[in-house]
């Protein structure tokens, strides 16, 4: 069965600025099976966002191949890529002037980029996506009036309107409170189960990915430091080495999944 997403020996380097060496992704290879929930974790500047840019052809690799459903991204047109993968960014630029419904409608662009106006079918898709994300009543609002959780769901609705089989989320729970985090996870699981969406999650929240993801990729300085099931990757010595911070890994009381915590030094030095 073809993988939903595959990186084969990908090499990429940002151009160096002055005396600091350019950041590189080195010989990265991994694959995400169709219908999986896949997590990408790693310290800051380890290459997580760069990965998203590479798979969506915002950047192109110097060597190697990136395959979406078996097809080389390098040979696909942008609209075609957008129909296969929807990226949910963390936020929109400040001062975004369009209302929620128009933003969600933009998710339909890749399906008919040459049209001047969206079709009725496009509008129906947008409404459906807003309903799935639970934001139908926000359709006429501008973004600055919404809370962090609501904006996140708006961005998700736009990605859902794209109807792509692969969903990539960049730090989806970064600005969410506990309630909204739980909601977000529930929604992603539902989409995965009912709509068969393949989901790739980039996150700093190791416990979230431990709970939700079937498999994980741990990145360090642009290379894979670990790949596999959460129990295998979220291991004390690996994490301590990659994050350069002492870490303790326990088991969650109900789900038995790994729980990662920083091994805080005793504040009173006992």
């Amino acid at each position: 069965m073809t993988a939903a997403l595959e990186f084969r020996d990908v090499v990429f380097a940002y151009p160096a600025r002055g005396p600091r060496p350019g950041f590189t992704i080195r010989d990265l290879s991994f694959s995400v099976g169709a219908g999986q929930i896949f997590g990408i974790i790693g310290p800051n500047a380890s290459g997580k966002t760069t990965l998203i840019r590479l798979l969506s052809k915002v950047l192109e690799p110097a060597r190697g191949q990136i395959l979406l459903d078996g097809e080389d991204v390098g040979r696909l047109e942008r609209a075609s890529i957008a129909r296969r993968v929807a990226v949910v960014p963390q936020d929109v630029p400040a001062g975004f002037p369009y209302v929620v419904e128009d933003l969600v409608l933009m998710g339909r662009f890749p399906h008919a980029p040459r049209r001047f106006f969206e079709s009725d079918a496009d509008r129906d898709e947008a409404l459906r996506a807003m309903a799935t994300a639970g934001i139908s009543e926000l359709r006429g609002e501008t973004l600055d009036r919404l809370s962090g959780g609501e904006r996140q769901r708006v961005m998700l609705a736009r990605a859902l309107a794209q109807r792509s089989p692969l969903l990539v989320l960049d730090e989806p729970t970064a600005h969410l409170d506990l309630h909204h985090q739980a909601e977000c996870v529930a929604l992603l699981r539902r989409l995965n189960r009912e709509a068969g969406l393949t989901i790739v999650l980039i996150s700093h929240d190791l416990n979230l990915v431990a709970e939700v993801c079937d498999r994980l990729l741990l990145l360090r300085a642009g290379a894979a430091a670990g790949i596999g099931r959460a129990e295998a990757v979220l291991e004390e010595s690996i994490l301590t080495s990659v994050y350069r911070c002492r870490v303790v890994v326990d088991k969650h009381p109900t789900t038995r999944r790994p729980i990662v915590q920083i091994a805080w030094p005793d504040p009173e030095g006992r």
Partner: protein, 339 residues
């Protein structure tokens, strides 16, 4: 009502307004003509007095056409530049693009090009060249890590504008005094009754520019998500940017070539439209074409008649409206940025 029918209805209303304004302007002028004389000149072409014919058909009508065209072109260029730079303070004059075009035109005039169809193309070409050089310089100076922050954009525009104005001054000082007078007057920005061939070239060039900008209207909307997000939605960002830039530069160049540098139309009209019609470029671009024409026609009618029988240059009127409006914008945007 679907968006398409709403847009058509809006454009119909604006077109009617433009037609009404055009017709009304026929009756206003320093030469006091009776309404009957004007109507006679328009309908039969052989009015009661030959003077009325000349005034209405060879002076007022071509000038009204030029005003409608120039206003529309500048307003569309303004919408284009603002969308391209994602910056509401962008417009051909602020970006120094008008000055670049003016430099091109002054160069042409100083080296003796006259007004005929072929020469009109040459004039437009040199204006376009100047506009492109200036615009590119501004974008290059002001770009910061893929963005175009407010302050650097305005600063870059001012710098480039000053540079080309100085270059024009150098040209002027080097040239014969006899050829000077026309150039200096021209630099104030004046709508003159254009002969039909010139009007034709003006209209054709503007049509191309308008078509280029309008074609990217939907992509412009998506670009508001940020360039990276737009790319991820399938927008060919590079092509969109180039087409809009070329279209807006063409519109600016054509206007400067045939009406001289006129400022602030491209700033005021897009903003007024955005405040009333919303941010959708598919609506703003065609609406700007019509509303810009009406605006400049009104300004020009004022310019012609305020100090009759003398004339103010229309650039003076738009600057008088524009400067306070610009300050208002800068302050409201700055206060929003500080939040």
């Amino acid at each position: 009502m679907s968006p398409r029918s709403r847009l058509i209805a809006l454009l119909a209303v604006l077109a009617l307004a433009a037609a009404a304004a055009g017709i009304a302007a026929l009756f206003i002028g320093s030469a006091r003509l009776s309404a009957r004389a004007v109507i006679a000149a328009m309908t039969t072409g052989h009015g009661r007095s030959g003077v009325a014919d000349v005034i209405v058909l060879s002076l007022r009508l071509p000038r009204i056409a030029a005003a409608l065209l120039a206003g529309g072109a500048l307003a569309v260029a303004g919408v284009g530049f603002q969308g391209l730079t994602r910056n509401p303070l962008a417009e051909p004059a602020v970006l120094g693009v008008s000055s670049g075009a003016a430099f091109g035109v002054v160069t042409a005039q100083v080296f003796g090009l006259r007004v005929g169809v072929l020469e009109a193309f040459g004039l437009t070409a040199l204006a376009f060249g100047g506009a492109v050089v200036a615009g590119t310089a501004v974008l290059a100076i002001a770009s910061r890590a893929g963005g175009l922050p407010v302050h650097t954009l305005v600063l870059a525009g001012v710098i480039v504008g000053i540079f080309f104005s100085s270059a024009i001054t150098v040209l002027i000082s080097v040239v014969d005094f006899d050829r000077l007078g026309g150039v200096i007057y021209w630099l104030l920005g004046n709508l003159a009754p254009l002969p039909a061939p010139a009007l034709g070239v003006f209209a054709a060039t503007s049509a191309v520019g308008f078509w280029l900008v309008l074609g990217q209207a939907r992509s412009l909307n998506v670009l508001a998500l940020g360039e990276e997000a737009a790319l991820q939605l399938g927008v060919d960002a590079e092509r969109t940017k180039w087409r809009i830039f070329t279209g807006a530069a063409l519109l600016t160049a054509a206007t400067v070539a045939f009406a001289g540098p006129i400022g602030f139309v491209g700033l005021i009209v897009p903003h007024a439209l955005r405040m009333t019609l919303g941010p959708d470029h598919r609506v703003l671009v065609p609406a700007a074409l019509l509303a810009g024409g009406v605006f400049l026609l009104a300004a020009d009618t004022l310019a012609r008649n305020l100090v009759a029988p003398a004339e103010l240059s229309v650039g003076v009127i738009t600057s008088l409206c524009g400067a306070p409006f610009f300050v208002y914008l800068l302050r409201s945007r700055a206060s929003r940025l500080e939040r």
